[in-house]
């Protein structure tokens, strides 16, 4: 099968798997410390990629991953020491692989992929260094003592002293106190660094009772990595078509509907069925939960790309960054996950570029040379909090004031008197950028506003806190899922509409028909404050309701629009429900004021109100 004749399905699976393997390689390589299992994972990923690419006849990619695999095999067997050149060439390989994938995506072929990585690897392998490079002269020796010798511990201690006098003792296994108590068999592991291994070996072999002392390079033992990847990636997983999950979700939704119906008719049927209905209820709830969880993915899939990006950004700016990542195991719905990479990378870029000072300045200020940037995530109730914090200079509020005034975002009075907290929110306005010069990394004034609008689109938000001279913290708040929200179900004439609870401030009942009009737009006084009204019947195009008169039986649902509060006038309130959000079919266009649809307990479809859109309509 060649690339041209490969069915799209195979190609799709290949590309998806390739992306995953590349991500594994990149993620593991980006860690500050690599354990043996990391090397092994990278090796396996390259191996898989090689096999798949051969099967698809993508020979350049296959050759490249083969070369990477060879190099890793040498590392794995200890023939080549892990060092920065090895990591560099592998990272270059990752870049080339990614380029190959994008070539395949755009043209269906990677024949034009040009890379020197296989050649570089060959050179590395030819100039093979069989011992760890001199900078890290770490060794591990196994001391074997004659089991019958007297004062076994003393012989061991003599051997250890030999090591100490010719180098630095790192560690013994068992530990020194255990050796002193003769609490060991006939073997001791001695880890040390030294440039005189031959001398050590010779002197130890002269000690009476020593059977052998073999020295080999010390293999890096697994150190706790800053990025806790293993426990996430190592779980067995299977690949499931997202559409299939969506279908399952739909069916579960229907099951829930049937359950509700059964429950409602419980009173009218034979008592014996009650138990069955209760059981069905429990099962459907559990099933619903599980299906929801099947859509969750750890944030790690986004976080694993961060260390590399941060390093690249820091390098290009001549800054040193100590990056800490926490909470990668936090799970979110994949719909949320898809939105995240851009905002996170942008905020990190912003922190490194504008927040963290130049190394020279940091030294002058008595800070550590390396700027500290922390990316963390955690669950908080029904939300996910992602924080990006730096220990840089903070945001200069006075400059924000000046800039906002220059850009005519605010009036001079507001620019002067607005509290600090409010000023900081201006940085999310379109066109705002505090960098005095446009830099390559951030700047140009696009970005912060995009960050905010992307997050608001999915029902999230971004806050900023600044501590002068000490740092800046951005906090993203995101919903756990976009698929299920709580909605207030309201009735207008014979229609039913769901209003997302998150955007509702309060609901009030009309006590007297005291609507007035301002410039022809209806409004009421709510606790002495005028509140513009929007009759929900009008965006719903319910003709007979167009008289737009308030009656005493109606309710006003007060929501926060972009330009302030708006009261939505409805006929009935049916209460709060969990609703499954479904996007509107393209056949329905994009009706202003409605963002989606949901299926209610009785099986009918209800539209989901888009509060921002409705509030806008009210302003007209």
């Amino acid at each position: 099968m060649n690339a041209e004749s490969a069915s799209n399905e195979f190609l799709g699976i290949y590309l998806q798997e390739a992306d995953e393997q590349i991500q594994i390689v990149e993620g593991r390589l980006s860690q500050p410390e690599l354990s043996e299992s990391d090397i092994h994972e990278i090796f396996r990923a390259c191996h898989t990629l090689k096999g798949n690419s051969r099967a698809m006849e993508f020979h350049n990619v296959a050759q490249l991953s083969h070369a990477m695999e060879d190099l890793l095999d040498e590392v794995r067997s200890g023939k080549i020491a892990w060092r920065s050149e090895v990591a560099q060439v592998l990272l270059a390989g990752v870049d080339a692989l990614s380029e190959g994938m994008s070539l395949i995506r755009s043209s269906g072929s990677e024949r034009e992929l040009i890379t020197t990585v296989p050649k570089q690897i060959k050179e590395l392998l030819n100039g093979r260094i069989t011992r760890p490079d001199s900078s890290a002269n770490h060794w591990s020796g196994e001391l074997v003592l004659d089991a019958g010798v007297d004062l076994k511990f003393a012989k061991a201690l003599i051997a250890i002293r030999v090591v100490e006098s010719n180098g630095t003792l790192l560690k013994t296994l068992p530990t020194l106190p255990e050796i002193e108590n003769e609490d060991f068999g006939d073997r001791i592991q001695i880890e040390f660094s030294s440039g005189e291994t031959d001398k050590i070996a010779e002197e130890i072999s002269k000690i009476a009772g020593v059977v052998s002392f073999e020295i080999g390079p010390l293999k890096e033992t697994a150190k706790p990595a800053t990025v806790p990847t293993s426990q996430i990636i190592d779980k067995p997983t299977i690949r499931v078509d997202v559409n299939r999950l969506d279908n399952l979700m739909n069916l579960v939704g229907e099951l829930v509907t049937d359950r509700t119906r059964l429950q409602q008719s419980k009173g009218q049927v034979h008592a014996g069925i009650h138990e069955t209905v209760d059981h069905l209820e429990r099962i459907t709830s559990d099933l619903q939960d599980e299906i929801m969880k099947a859509r969750l993915q750890p944030l790690q899939t986004v976080f694993s790309r961060v260390p590399r990006a941060v390093r690249d950004i820091a390098q290009s700016l001549g800054k040193e960054i100590d990056l800490q990542i926490m909470g990668g195991e936090t799970e979110v719905d994949r719909s949320v996950l898809e939105v995240l990479p851009d905002p996170i990378l942008h905020l990190l870029r912003n922190s490194i570029d504008h927040g963290i000072e130049d190394p020279a300045e940091r030294i002058r200020l008595g800070k550590s040379v390396k700027g500290k940037v922390t990316l963390s995530a955690k669950h908080q109730g029904e939300q996910i909090l992602i924080a990006i914090q730096d220990d840089g200079r903070g945001i200069d509020v006075d400059r924000v004031r000046t800039k906002a005034l220059e850009l005519k975002l605010v009036t001079p009075a507001v620019a002067q008197s607005a509290p600090e907290k409010e000023c900081l929110t201006w940085i999310f306005e379109p066109g705002f950028s505090t960098a005095s010069e446009v830099s390559q990394v951030s700047g140009r004034g696009v970005g912060m506003d995009v960050v905010r609008s992307n997050l608001t689109k999915i029902g999230g938000s971004v806050d900023v806190e600044s501590f002068a001279g000490k740092g800046t913290r951005f906090t993203l708040r995101l919903p756990l899922t976009l698929a299920i929200i709580r909605g207030l179900i309201v009735g207008v004439s014979d229609r039913t509409v769901a209003i997302p609870i998150g955007s509702i401030q309060e609901t009030v009942r009309i006590t007297q028909p005291d609507a007035q009009t301002v410039f022809g737009a209806p409004a009421i006084l709510l606790r002495d404050t005028p509140l513009p009204l929007q009759f929900l019947s009008s965006p719903l195009e319910i003709a007979e309701q167009h008289n737009e008169m308030l009656s005493q039986s109606q309710y006003v649902v007060i929501v926060q629009g972009q330009n302030g509060k708006v009261g939505l006038v409805v006929d009935k309130l049916f209460g709060e429900r969990e609703i499954v959000v479904k996007p509107l079919s393209p056949y329905c266009g994009k009706p202003k004021g409605f963002s989606g649809a949901t299926i209610l307990g009785d099986g009918t479809v209800a539209l989901i109100a888009d509060v921002a859109g409705l509030a806008d309509l009210g302003g007209n």
Binding site: R495, L540, K592
Partner: protein, 141 residues
């Protein structure tokens, strides 16, 4: 039946008969409640729930321009399309017609003043307009 044989699902709309390629038919369901969606063309009737999915419905009579008002009908003919599944509101599916490519009489099309049908089929004396679904559904979005 040769593999080239096309099968056409025939259905009625008042006194007329229309057909669509069976490969485009997802399912046929009895009509259920429809929730109107504002700001859509007149012939987009709204959304209905088919086993947990919200499917948009099109009033074929109004779409073809042969009926002025929407009319309650008995069945939804659910079709697959590039923009997702979509339903046509029809009276009833009557039969599946096997169409031998050699006996296609679709040259008749140019004499009918619409590009919404590919041709007219003679099904044992009954005339059926074969819908051009790309056009019928295409302009809707």
């Amino acid at each position: 039946m040769s593999p080239d044989t096309r099968q056409i699902v025939l259905f009625t709309l008042d006194a007329e008969t229309y057909g669509v390629d069976i490969l485009r038919v997802q399912e046929i369901v009895n009509a259920g409640p429809i929730t109107p969606v504002p700001a859509t063309p007149k012939y987009v009737l709204g959304l209905t729930n088919i086993r947990g999915r919200t499917i948009p419905l099109i009033d074929l009579g109004q779409r073809l321009g042969i009926k002025d008002e929407k009319k309650e009908r008995a069945q939804f003919l659910i079709l697959n399309s590039e923009a997702g599944d979509v339903g046509l509101v029809i009276d009833a599916v009557t039969e599946v017609w096997r169409l031998d490519p050699e006996s296609v009489s679709s040259e008749a099309n140019s004499n009918f003043k619409t590009d919404l049908i590919d041709g007219v089929l003679d099904c044992n004396g009954r005339l059926a307009g074969i819908l051009n679904l790309e056009r019928v559904l295409g302009n809707v979005q």
